[in-house]
């Protein structure tokens, strides 16, 4: 089921987890790459320092051997001109300090260090004076003789800067990638989740209607009209929502539930305004439509007509053939009405054997013609058991200042006249 913050929560979680995974993968790749790069860089620094030792071993070796302090200083000053060389300290063959370019380094090598250095140079990564350095200590071998040692503090600032640059590039990459993935996820979100939700919302809005003018009006008729429109819109739009109950998608299942609910509401709404026997609009619906139509005619200076229909001698049919046959007659007449009228026309059962048809936009002449046609159709129809029946019609057109009551009265009077004048005829009033 869908919880209140479920969608946002799930999307956020998905995005976050995806990014976390991407970051992790990239982080591991970067760590491996950077570690390797640093190892290679450090290896190269070691090699270059070994080369430097080889390059200077004879000159410096002799100077150390002869303890020519000033010459050692001059040689060291020369080497100090090289980039990244922070400090150089030279020692004699016993590890005793001879010269150092840095005051803090003026101490002798320990016996242990001397012992270790007799086999190979050592390189230690350490923090020195607040920066990363490679402390390279090497014996100085000249002409096969071990004459002393030297220690070079080599700055790793260049390497550190490169590391920062690489991390910067990585972060930029991750951010761009995150943005891209975010956009992608967003579009997926929009495509598969928001669109259905929007569709649903649009449908709901349509169904609800947004006719402001009608909203301004008050009264029962307006509300009914709006409800009518909602039902109509529901019928039109519910086809767009191709929804199935058999889905894991909670959005779709939500929409489906919503659709089912609307369908139930519609059925309830329509059912209350439908005559159970004939399936035509009932008196309640007709009252609403009439009131609404009167209002409309007054506002838009338009017109409409109504036809009042009464089956002749229906009581006799009931008495002779029974109520069931009477009901069949009513149903058949209702079918005829349904078939005869346009979609905009509103036929309904007024009560008993009386029917009322509302014809929007039609004047009395047209209405009489329609009534006449209907009268002929009923007369021509074969009714089971009963055979032929006839009906009488009262037609009237809406006049200005008419109320529903006036209108009905006139139609009723016309119908009465038709009965008086021998039935099976149309009278207008």
């Amino acid at each position: 089921m869908l919880y209140r913050q479920s969608i946002r929560y799930k999307i956020n979680l998905t995005v976050a987890l995806t990014l976390l995974a991407v970051t992790l993968v990239f982080g591991i790749v970067l760590t491996v790459y950077e570690t390797q790069r640093r190892n290679v860089a450090i290896q190269q620094i070691k090699l270059s320092l070994n080369d430097l030792t080889s390059q200077y071993r004879e000159q410096l070796g002799n100077e150390i051997f002869a303890a020519l302090i000033m010459a050692i200083q001059a040689t060291m000053a020369d080497i100090m001109k090289r980039k990244s060389v922070l400090a150089i300290t030279t020692y004699d063959e016993f590890g005793d300090m001879l010269v150092s370019t840095d005051n803090s380094l003026q101490k002798n090598l320990s016996e242990k260090q001397v012992a270790v250095l007799s086999s190979a140079p050592t390189s230690i990564l350490q923090k020195w004076n607040g920066q990363s350095v490679l402390t390279f200590t090497s014996p100085i071998m000249a002409y096969g003789e071990k004459v002393g040692f030297w220690q070079i503090h080599y700055s790793l600032a260049t390497m550190e800067r490169q590391t920062l640059e690489i991390i910067f590039i990585f972060v930029t990459l991750i951010l761009s990638l995150s943005t891209l993935i975010g956009l992608l996820l967003n579009s997926i979100f929009v495509r598969f989740i928001l669109n259905p939700v929007n569709m649903l919302r649009n449908t709901m809005q349509h169904i609800q209607g947004s006719d402001r003018e009608i909203d301004q009006e008050t009264g029962k008729a307006v509300r009914h009209q709006r409800l009518d429109k909602m039902v109509q819109a529901f019928d039109e739009l519910s086809d767009d929502l191709v929804l199935s109950h058999a889905t894991d998608n909670e959005i779709s299942s939500l929409a489906y539930s919503f659709q089912q609910m609307l369908f139930a509401l519609k059925t309830a709404y329509v059912g209350i305004r439908t005559d159970a026997l004939t399936g035509l609009n009932n008196r309640m619906k007709l009252d609403e439509v009439l009131e609404n139509e009167v209002n409309r005619a007054q506002r838009y200076q338009s017109t409409f007509s109504i036809i009042m229909l009464d089956i002749d001698y229906f009581k006799k049919v009931n008495d002779t053939y029974g109520h069931l046959v009477g009901d069949e007659v009513l149903k058949k007449v209702a079918d005829l009405l349904k078939r005869t009228f346009r979609k905009t026309d509103v036929p309904g059962r007024w009560g008993g054997e009386e029917f009322l048809i509302l014809l929007p936009q039609q004047d009395r002449i047209r209405a009489c013609m329609i009534a006449e046609r209907l009268r002929a159709a009923i007369e021509a129809s074969e009714f089971p058991d009963v055979g032929t029946i006839t009906s009488s019609f009262g037609v009237t057109e809406h006049a200005s200042e008419d109320t529903v009551e006036n209108l009905i009265k006139r139609a009723d009077d016309a119908l009465y006249r038709a009965k008086e004048l021998g039935r099976n005829r149309v009278e207008e009033g």
Binding site: N62, F65, L68, M70, A74, A142, Y143, G144, E145, V147
Partner: protein
């Protein structure tokens, strides 16, 4: 197979060892350690020549104790470390004594080892005070820089009337540093002023920047205690217009010094151990013999004297072993050398006169002789 090779090698070693001992019986092995390569090679060749001459003379007269002297020459490649290695090789080769080295830096590298191995050593011209202070097996034929530095300071002050000086020293040379220090001490003690001490290193050939600094100071004397590279210094100093008088020590008068620029020097002075123009019987006699074989240079006599000092000691020694030779050397009294009479003090240093030479338009001439008190 491997064992067989080892046995074979061992046999070969024993055989060759036997061979060499049998030869050693009728030869006295003496080592000469000087440079045959590197920056000192040109200079040191003059010393090799004089030593060879001395050996040939002694052998021609029948040798010592009925044995010929076998001179083994070692190249120290002009570096302290390789001097030490040469000394090691000499000891290994069974030399009873060592003649050498020339440059103080080289002798200072050799002396401690020879002292440790108790092999007597006689250096012809290593003037640094510390050379003989190493121990009782170390001797030299020349004066010491404590004397030479003083002599130079006195000369600058009294003869050149100098009150100010700039010293240009080679910081990779013990000789240069030592003599500069002695000169400075004595010059200042005599009321003179050292305006600056400028440093350079071996292998340097362009001294222009250094000398521009010296020119600014405008000293009376430019003291240049170096070896052959001093030739570059004097030429370049003259070229940039330094008016000061050029003064050097016994490291100057090599052929290479003149080739490097000394031949263009208009006026300069230096101290030396000996000069062919000295008016002594010994000198005249030596030149007469020597000039037939080698070119007579300022270093010929001192080198010859060093060799002859050793041979004289071997002759006087009870037996031809290193210890007896040392004792005989230490007992040397009024040895009549070409460069003067030689007696060793307790350090193994002789007390000798210094010859002051004046260079005029690239030609050296005997100016005066300074005798120690």
């Amino acid at each position: 197979m491997k064992k067989l090779i080892i046995v074979f090698v061992l046999l070969l070693a024993i055989f060759s060892a036997g061979l060499s001992t049998s030869r050693a019986g009728d030869e006295i092995k003496v080592a000469a350690i000087f440079a045959k390569s590197g920056e000192a090679a040109e200079d040191n060749l003059e010393l090799f020549e004089a030593v060879r001459f001395a050996v040939e003379e002694v052998n021609a007269k029948g040798g010592l104790h009925g044995k010929k002297i076998k001179l083994i020459e070692y190249d120290n490649h002009s570096t302290p470390i390789q001097s030490r290695l040469a000394a090691k090789q000499a000891v290994k080769d069974g030399a009873v004594a060592v003649i050498g080295a020339s440059w103080s830096s080289h002798s200072l590298a050799i002396a401690p080892y020879l002292q440790k191995m108790k092999v007597p050593m006689v250096s012809p011209d290593s003037t640094h005070p510390d050379v003989t202070k190493t121990g009782d097996y170390i001797f030299r034929a020349c004066f010491v820089d404590t004397w030479q530095g003083k002599a130079l300071a006195m000369f600058a002050k009294d003869e050149l009337k100098a009150t100010t000086t700039v010293i240009v020293q080679n910081i990779s040379s013990d000789y240069s540093l030592g003599i500069a220090e002695m000169f400075e001490q004595n010059f200042v003690a005599g009321g003179g002023k050292v305006l600056a001490v400028l440093n350079y290193k071996s292998q340097q050939t362009d001294f222009t920047d250094l000398l521009k600094e010296a020119k600014e100071l405008n000293p009376d004397v430019l003291f240049i205690p170096g070896h052959a590279e001093s030739g570059y210094v004097v030429r370049q100093a003259q070229k940039i217009g330094i008016k000061a008088k050029m003064l050097g020590g016994d490291g100057w008068p090599y052929r290479q010094f003149y080739a490097n620029g000394g031949q263009d020097l208009k006026e300069g002075y230096y101290t030396a151990h000996w000069n062919k123009n000295l008016d002594t019987e010994k000198t005249k006699d030596f030149i007469a013999r020597y000039k037939n074989v080698y070119e007579v240079t300022d270093f010929a006599a001192i080198s010859y004297d060093a060799a002859m000092l050793l041979f004289d000691a071997i002759k006087r020694a009870d037996s031809i072993d290193r210890h007896s030779i040392r004792d005989a050397l230490a007992a040397t009294k009024d040895f009549d050398g070409v460069t003067g009479k030689i007696s060793f003090n307790e350090n193994g240093d002789p007390k000798k006169q210094a010859v002051v030479m004046k260079i005029t338009d690239g030609r050296p001439a005997l100016l005066m002789i300074i005798t120690p008190d």
